[in-house]
Amino acid sequence: MKTIVMAQNTFREGARDRIFLAILIFGVVVLVSGFVIGPISLGEQTRITQDIGLASMSALCFLIAVLIGTGIVFKEIERKTVYTVLSKPVRGWEFILGKFLGLAMIVGALTLGMGVILIAVSGIVSHQFHPALVSAIFLIWMELILLIALSILMSTLCSPVLGAVFTLILYIVGHTSADLKELAVRFGTPAVEVASKVMYYTLPNLEYLNVRSKVIHGVEVDVSYILFACAYALLYALVFLTLATLVLDRKEFK
């Protein structure tokens, strides 16, 4: 119950900060890609629209999730709003989970709004419905959920700027860890090889959640794979949120 109260407050704060204007920006990007760039792409109009649409949706939502997420606990402490919340019967985990759910709802609403626009525009451009886009959009949201949990953990540890830098690094590593491991095995020293393997097996592999190119090229994505990817993202999110709670519980509000 207290978690829901915290989540609703976080969502309301995002809504009143006019976060949802991002949908408008996205709408313009998709319309431009669909009706301006598309026609000059030699028969690849649908693919170009979907590619630019999914990429810009992922980038915009990542930006919003990281900008809000890395400051979500830090700012509560800095602005001292945390004093009146954590002096009430609210546990650390209820506070963290509430913040997480609120931000997950904001990003969920954003991906939903953007997804509807993308499916509509791509339907108009190609004169057919593309249900496979739903799975790509859903997994973008799952990736964002994992990254929100990571940025909330960062928010309990360091300043928003530092947190955003770390999250961005982990985002890049998360998308390239398989390639990095491959490169290290081929060309690296034994130490680099070990380091790349440690990175590969401990950090989240965000490529598991990226089915964008498959969907755009018409390759079918299994429901079982979507469920696996979903569980993978949620498990990492759970680990990050548990760590964030442990850090918060040990914090002293001087």
């Binding site: 207290k2 004093y83 009146t84 919340v85 002096s87 509000f253």
Partner: protein, 329 residues
């Protein structure tokens, strides 16, 4: 009357670095607040009042000692359900209106429906913010924020209200209204613990006070004990008292207030004998006022005495530590 809040040897040590060098130590503090009283926690800036309150609210963890509520049976977290807390210079979510903010805090206590809306109406009326209920917090003045802080501290109908410097930043009217509210809270059966350095307000409304300085409680006493315990001097208001005549009697200092002569005498003087001597030379006695120390006098004296004793005990422990080190070596 049972105890509602108890600090037993509560200590907080802030370390300056990983090497563990001490930066600041508060305590050990021993303090007991009795159910239904208004308890004033006094001290100069930096004495450790806010740190004590944060320890009491669980926002800081004590390095040693114990804090308990409700006859020692309840931990800080369990007690929060019946605790109200106003932090110093409270900050709130700027995106919410007054009513939304109170709804948010009320729901954290599990309140909902008509119970919550009645409570909100009640506390808004109590703090005089009914008309500003739909105004965004970002548009609130400092005084309004302080009132909103008090409203959120009362939303759960608490048994004990802990207020950190509630009177600072308020204009005289606001201070007077807040004092009245604190007295009303006591009349409703609540316990109020508040920190302040505005001694006049504390003197007017508190039952007991504790004086904190140099990280230690120097004194704990009832306000009557402090104020009425000892007469510091007597003031005789007289008329028809030529100064040269009165001066010859050597009773005390002379001054004038309007057309009256004021004779100020030390507390150990034989008052009856002095009055007789004055009347014998034809002086008309208009009034005799025993002058007692103000809380400020008391506070300043305790601070001075306490400072000396703390410095002495710190020096002694330093000598002891050095001697032990030398012996050890």
């Amino acid at each position: 009357m049972g105890s509602i809040l108890k600090l037993e040897g509560t200590t907080k040590i802030f370390r300056s670095d990983l090497a563990g060098r001490h930066l600041y130590t508060l305590g050990p503090l021993d303090l007991e607040v009795v159910r239904g009283e208004i308890f004033g926690y006094l001290g100069p800036n930096g004495a450790g009042k806010t740190t004590t309150i944060k320890l009491m609210m669980g926002l800081l963890k004590p390095s040693a000692g114990r804090i308990s509520y409700f006859d020692g049976s309840t931990t800080v977290f369990e007690a929060r359900q019946k605790l109200g807390f106003l932090p110093e210079q409270p900050y709130f979510y700027q995106h919410l209106t007054g009513r939304e903010l109170l709804t948010f805090y009320g729901r954290l206590f599990g309140l909902k429906g008509s119970v919550l809306s009645d409570r909100i109406k009640n506390v808004l009326r109590q703090v005089g913010l009914t008309k500003q209920a739909e105004t965004r917090i970002s548009r609130f003045s400092k005084g309004m924020l302080q009132r909103m802080g008090l409203a959120q501290a009362l939303i759960n109908n608490p048994d004990i209200v802990v207020l950190d410097e509630p009177l600072s930043g308020l204009d005289p009217v606001g201070r007077s209204e807040l004092r009245d509210l604190i007295v009303r809270l006591k009349a409703e059966g609540r316990t109020v613990f508040f920190s302040s350095h505005i001694l006049q307000d504390v003197e007017m409304i508190c039952d007991r006070v504790a004086i904190l300085a140099y990280g230690r409680i120097l004194k704990m006493a009832t306000v009557p004990e402090v104020l009425y315990g000892s007469v510091t001097s007597y003031e005789i208001v007289a008329s028809n008292a030529p100064h040269n005549l009165v001066r010859k009697l050597c009773l005390g200092n002379l001054s004038t207030r309007g057309d009256k002569t004021i004779i100020t005498m030390p507390p150990d003087v034989d008052l009856n004998e002095s009055l007789k001597r004055l009347m014998a030379v034809g002086v008309v006695i208009e009034a005799v006022n025993p002058l007692r120390q103000t809380l400020e006098d008391y506070f300043m004296r305790e601070l001075k005495n306490g400072g000396r004793s703390v410095a002495r005990s710190q020096a002694e422990s330093k000598i002891f530590a050095e001697t032990s080190k030398e012996n050890g070596a």
